[in-house]
Symmetry: C2
Subunit: 327 residues, 2 copies
């Protein structure tokens, strides 16, 4: 009990330090988006202000792919699936002649995906189901410990945006509870989000497959089934927020049309609201893509942002730094 | 920012007060269960102890019906459904001749439930679906503000167990994160769990029906559909814990066979574990029921508790008080 007290006092000191000593958001330029974020936070945290929001209701939701970490040249979870296909191939000699695996094993991703959504689902189910939840967690952790991004040769968990890490910390220092609401697999994210983002597993909402409770040698396990439970994208993001969080966010952060309904849902609540779109405009430090991209396409949400006055972050002009590993 | 700091300091003072000034669990007798709980908490919070658990992993899950509040003579949510049938009847003249509604409207609950699970599902869907999530929340709040328990004539939110409220506070003061994992409807619980138990909506896991995102007059809503999404009972409790919380609890509290798999799942983790069954043994202050009860039946879990040394709370002997309103 004494140690909890000391820890909490320490947390208060750290909080005081964060609040008074350091300028928030050091990797953000002093342009519009930083001002919009700081103004919003000051307004909802100022007691007595008409926009004040009690701490328990300060819910902020973040998309993951393209919002907290990169998503090019392909969603990182798909690289994981490809590596799993290679790792599992020796146990599946039949894959040599079976699509989409035959193409994948020849390194022909485009050919593999010619089979469309069905091919994609087959790849995901083959690589994400059939094991226990504990086994899958270990597979994800082992992969992250060795896999490298094809362009930067960095571990994927270093491909996170430094300004967004600062934003997460800043919001939490101001009493916000930060959640991930992502189309990515929830059990692909949970093993590392606490360490990388400071977001614990119970604050990660994502897509999922079904699991089944079973006794194996007298020990209970949850077995991952090749059956979709929930796809947390587009109109399903507000559904996931409602079902998993049960409270409407007051701030939402995303980067694609997959986040449009989350922005609409967040903005439609009473009182001050913040909707922030990360616009990928920096081909040099990261990637530049929007309306026509097959990964992270940003078209309708960009139009609606302009019409509704949502905040759009121009990565090239609004961020001093994109990745922590930059010089 | 300053106000957050003051609030946090205040929280620390309150914590210090809870930790050092007051004897924990005043409504518990100094019998086995209280000792088991306190011993467990001291052990997992003592830094350097072999059983120490970092704060982030101190997850405790609580069943609701029969564990945090009463469940006799019938699950309270079912009283809610019955009252809704009566309230909606004027709009449904056809119910006069249609089961299960005809029997219900005549006050014949037993006759209505003769239709078994199908009748039950029809009653739930008719009363819980077809409106937006905001409308449903208001319906639940309005009902709770006026409805009274048939035996005690108290509001249902007063039918909560005082020793369990103290236990929730005690665990949180020791760095635990407390969750509800209940077979009850998640959106039936969330409107009041924060006020009554100190458990925020995002820490409530329960059964749910599907919702659909829709634009109505340019405003986004979530419409509740007459379709089951998830039944959070028995073998599905560990499934719900895994999908919504993503971390195995170190302590679980329940009262029926519906909690058996949650106990098994909790107990199977590494390190110190606590599984506590609330055994309804007090016909005078509450109700006495177990193996053969159709509501909150406790049979297999009681046997397994004895075999595995789980803690069984004998309400009559282990609790000084059951409800706060007792003299």
């Amino acid at each position: 009990m004494k140690s909890l007290l000391i820890k909490t006092l320490l947390a208060v000191l750290l909080l005081a330090n964060a609040a008074f000593a350091a300028e928030p958001l050091p990797s953000w330029n002093d342009t519009g988006p930083k001002k919009a974020i700081v103004t919003f936070v000051e307004k909802v945290t100022k007691e007595g202000s008409p926009d004040f929001v009690p701490m328990a209701e300060r819910i902020a939701t973040f998309d993951n792919d393209g919002t907290l970490w990169a998503e090019q040249p392909m969603y990182f979870q798909f690289f994981f699936a490809l590596d799993r296909v290679k790792a599992l191939a020796p146990q599946h000699p039949e894959w040599k002649d079976k699509e989409p695996f035959a193409s994948l094993l020849k390194g022909d991703v485009k050919g593999a995906l010619a089979g469309g959504e069905r091919a994609m689902i087959e790849i995901v189910m083959t690589t994400h189901a059939g094991m226990t939840t504990e086994e899958f967690e270990k597979i994800v952790k082992d992969w992250l410990a060795s896999a490298k991004h094809p362009k930067t040769k960095r571990p994927y968990t270093e491909m996170v945006y430094q300004p967004m890490l600062e934003l997460l910390t800043y919001l939490r220092a101001n009493g916000f509870k930060t959640f991930i609401v992502s189309g990515g697999g929830v059990e692909f994210m949970r093993p590392w989000t606490e360490k990388v983002y400071g977001i614990p597993p119970e604050q990660v909402v994502g897509s999922s497959i079904k699991t089944k409770f079973e006794m194996r040698d007298g020990r209970p396990v949850l077995v991952r089934l090749p059956e979709i439970d929930f796809i947390d994208d587009k109109a399903a993001k507000p559904v996931g927020i409602n079902s998993r969080i049960g409270r409407r966010p007051i701030a939402a952060f995303g980067n694609s049309d997959g986040d449009l309904q989350m922005f609409q849902w967040t903005s439609a609540g009473a009182g001050a609201r913040l909707a922030v779109i990360i616009h990928h405009t920096d081909a040099e430090r990261e990637w530049a893509y929007d309306r026509t991209s097959s990964i992270g396409g940003l078209d309708k949400a960009l139009d609606e942002a302009q019409a509704k006055g949502w905040t759009v972050v121009d990565m090239k002009n609004d961020w001093k730094r994109v990745f922590a590993f930059e010089q």
